[in-house]
Amino acid sequence: MSAIAAVLIGVSLLYISTTARLESYIKMLMLQGILLFMVAAGNAHDISFTSIIIIGVETILFKSIMIPLFLLKTIRKNQIKSDVESYFSGFTSLFIVTAILTLGFLTAYLSASSNAVLEPLYFGISISAMLTGFFIIATRKKLITHIMGYMILENGIFLLSLSAAKEMPFIVNLGVSMDIFIGVFLAGIFINRIKTNFDQHDIDDISRLKD
């Protein structure tokens, strides 16, 4: 079951690359949070009530509810137009993300040869997710999409940590989730400020500081 969830995360990356609407990005982030919960719960060393609660807080609460809703609120509040402005056409993006998926699995394929310390399927998809996150950050113009790309990157990292099959102490996991959430929260606040100060959302607007 968790394997299917991981594969569906891969499919959601494809959808993210082709869609042109911000709401779809948010829906996909929500979906990825739920899928990550399924992957994590399926791989938990001990299925106790507390461990499920902790995983649920990390994935469902933070990744799937609070952050997407906060981003949605930011979009509504700043009246950001709902189309994703990109330097590449949707077709090229889809093509590149397909290449990224292939690359991710190629890496997993190579890593599976030596004594596999990482679960190859998760490893491949997590590499793809991280690269897709970077791709979204690099090729989309709006600042809010950069935050979403960052979240995709973080989801990839979460999956990667699951593929290592070693759990960090509870306090570290909680700290990581808190950091990511607060990071997104602050970035959202900055977007509000940029809206009030610059009245635009283009990346071009924040490139005045340079030498």
Binding site: V7, G10, L14, A20, L94, T98, T102
Partner: protein
Amino acid sequence: MKEIILKYAVFGIYIIIFPFIYIGLINKLKNIWCGRKGAPVFQPFYDFVKLIRKTEVISSKTTYIFFFAPVASFVAVIFAALVVPGPYGISIISFDGDYIFFAYLLSLSKFVSIAGAMDTASSFEGMGAAREASFTSFVEPAYMMLLTTIVYATGFLSFQQILFVIQGSTGWSFITGAPIIVALFIMLLSEGSRIPLDDPKTHLELTMIHEVMVLDNSGMSLALINYTSGLKMCVISSIIASVLIPQETVGYRYILLFFAIIAGTALIVGVIESVFARVKMSHVPRFVFTMVSVAIFVMAISFLKIFRGVI
């Protein structure tokens, strides 16, 4: 003997009746979603009968190609339906490499309908034919990539066998099932010319893709074309059903599950048509290309199984 007759009978009923029900279900659901009562589910069948009883108007500028195109398309799809595992989980015709045969039958059906449209020498139909040919051109490579990967991973060469393997619950077949269904569903939407690729209910020739190709058809040939498009969707849905049904299912349960899944896909298509708008014309190839991407994804996963044996 009796069993075989029963099998053929069920298959025959399925192939004759279900295309109408399929389209009927989609329309019914769309209507209900809009708050209307909607035509009965069998309405496409009544339409079919009505159309058959009408005389056909044939443009004097057309040749025999126009006349034969719907028939040839119909026959090709019927054959395609025979290759795919039906309500019993077995195909009527099954041989090594039949999945390639299937692909080319679908292509043939598309080719003759394009040829028929071109034959009318109408500029609208030429436009529709060009759109249909270019927009759906990605379906075939994606389909071939998908099926070749599966064939390579399973080691079997006919639909019936490879789908049987996929029905199993071992790691690989379980994992790849989800993206395979996604890819097949995109294929279903594009072959059936449904929203979000093409709107069957549009009334402006300029925005039509598939519908504009059949503007000059009437009577018997229009009836055949309608039936053929329903059958196409049914056939692809039955592949989806064969992927989804667990291996252990046998007997009447299999049949019930099979019909339920086909009806389910019809309902999903209806929901999609109700809640989604059609994508921009220029975005249609991208949507179809998603199928290629998913196929590559399946291939990447399968590589791990084939060469590393890790899944």
